[in-house]
Amino acid sequence: MEVPQGLKYTQEHEWIRVDGKKAVIGISEFAQDQLGDIVFVELPEVGSQIDQGNPFGVVESVKTVSDLYAPAGGKVISVNKALETSPEKINNAPYEEGWIVEIELSNEKELESLLDADAYNEQCKNEME
């Protein structure tokens, strides 16, 4: 299961890629595998505020509904519109074309509470047991 270095992760299986004040958010390879075929994504409005630890959207697979939790707070500056017609991009490339939102971070300190790739990988292994 791919867990790229350099990203930060939540216990709820979101990842965040930070670039200065901006950050891109998506769900992990492990998460998309657990969910199965993703058929619907509910995205937040551009310009809206999302808060760390709170739901900001929804992904639905054929079998289940799962909330998306914000790894960090900030203003949504863009959303991946392509997911509205091709939600399967999350299954196919969760860290690339399957990204979900881009935000402008409110407080970079929030990133300190997130997991690094090794810690997150460990958590996934435990959940697989």
Partner: protein, 373 residues
């Protein structure tokens, strides 16, 4: 995304094969069953376009044998057992005195005094007890063979040609809702031309101890047909596209079978059966609700218990709902009052407080390709 760790779950003799095939195992009706292998959508299409195989060993098998077998089965079932001959199967309900549904099931007739029933996994023990209780002084033996019986469902248009390679009986002679005792890869079983997908195919009953060997041989000859293992996830999307009722969702001990569109398997003109008077009254009173298909007109995935609206007011609740891989849209089943049951009626399905436009469609959502005579 929680993992099932309960060790009290029953497993089928095929669990090792499911693990080898990387099936995702979940708890279902007290069993540890594969919900998916490659992915629900891909598995669904595999059955619609070619052929797939399901382990449905969780289903229950109950055998009724003896001089009074036919009268007992006739007393238990709403459909007319006189309408089938040897080696024929019949879809029927078993009802309570008040007309509530104990289970929906298949009756298979070996002979006038020998039958076997295929019942829902979650109801197996309840059904068995109900049959024992109803049998009273009937001269019959009733056996619950569910533990030692496995069941495979081979479904899709290539089913016959594939299975024929392993079978000693001409499968083309087994017509829809008929069955035969046969040898499959030298193991004795029962092959019935039945299914829960809307495609042509077979349900195969085997001794549990033989099931793994038979399944492996089916995979072996299935290679040239791109046969794939199919999980319970696709079983649900396939049956929902056909509008087939699922016990526990569309029907239960409180539901009214005529409202569920199951009047065709209730024969009020046959001799007495349990529930007959109550069902006659239901029929005379007419339906206050009807089960209809609902199709979303916008993006979204309807789920069981989502509210169904008309002009903002509540008119029903989904009994089933899913994403339809064949139609690439959300579909569901719902009881509504007859005034909203006409195909084309515009409704809404409430998804996370949003009223998503939907319309009533005639069932099935997809036309069936079973091999009818």
């Amino acid at each position: 995304m929680s993992q099932i760790t309960s060790s009290s779950l029953k497993t089928t003799p095929l669990i090792d094969i499911h693990k080898e095939l990387k099936g995702k195992l979940v708890a279902f009706a007290g069993w540890k069953m594969p919900i998916q292998f490659q992915g629900v959508i891909q598995e669904h299409q595999c059955v619609r376009d070619g052929v797939g195989i399901f382990d449905v060993s969780h289903m229950g098998e109950i055998e009724i044998q003896g001089p009074s077998a036919k009268s007992l089965v006739q007393k238990l079932m709403t459909n007319d057992i006189d309408s089938i001959k040897d080696n024929q199967a019949l879809y029927t309900l078993m009802c309570l005195e008040n007309g509530g549904v104990v289970d929906d099931l298949l009756v298979h007739r070996f002979s006038e005094d020998h039958y076997f029933l295929c019942v829902n996994a979650a109801n197996t023990e309840k059904d068995f007890q109900w049959i024992l209780k109803s049998a009273g002084s009937f001269d019959v033996t009733i056996r619950n063979n569910s533990q030692e019986t496995s069941q495979l469902a081979l479904q899709g248009k290539h089913s016959e040609i594939l299975l024929q390679k392993l079978c000693d009986v001409p499968l083309s002679e087994i017509r829809y809702y008929h069955f035969k005792k046969a040898k499959i890869h030298n193991f004795t079983g029962i092959i019935a031309r039945t299914g829960y997908t809307g495609e042509d195919g077979f349900e195969i009953y085997l001794r549990g101890v033989d099931a793994a060997k038979v399944l492996r041989s089916i995979f072996e000859v299935g290679k040239e047909f791109n046969l794939q293992p199919i999980g319970l996830g696709a079983r649900d999307t396939l049956r929902m596209e056909m509008g087939y009722a699922l016990y526990g969702n569309e029907i239960n001990e409180e539901s009214k079978p005529f409202e569920a569109g199951l009047g065709w398997i209730i024969k009020l003109n046959k001799q007495d059966f349990i529930g007959k008077e109550a069902l006659r009254k239901q029929k005379d009173a007419g339906n206050s609700r009807r089960l209809v298909g609902v199709r979303l007109l916008d993006r979204g995935v309807p789920r069981p218990h989502y509210r169904v609206l008309k002009n903002g007011g509540l008119v029903g609740e989904l009994t089933s709902g899913t994403f339809s891989p064949s139609l690439n849209t959300g579909i569901g089943l719902c009881y509504v009052s007859p005034e909203y049951a006409e195909a084309g009626t515009k409704l809404g399905v409430e998804i996370r407080k949003l009223n998503v436009p939907a319309e009533v469609v005639k069932l099935p959502f997809l036309s069936t390709r079973v091999k009818k005579d």
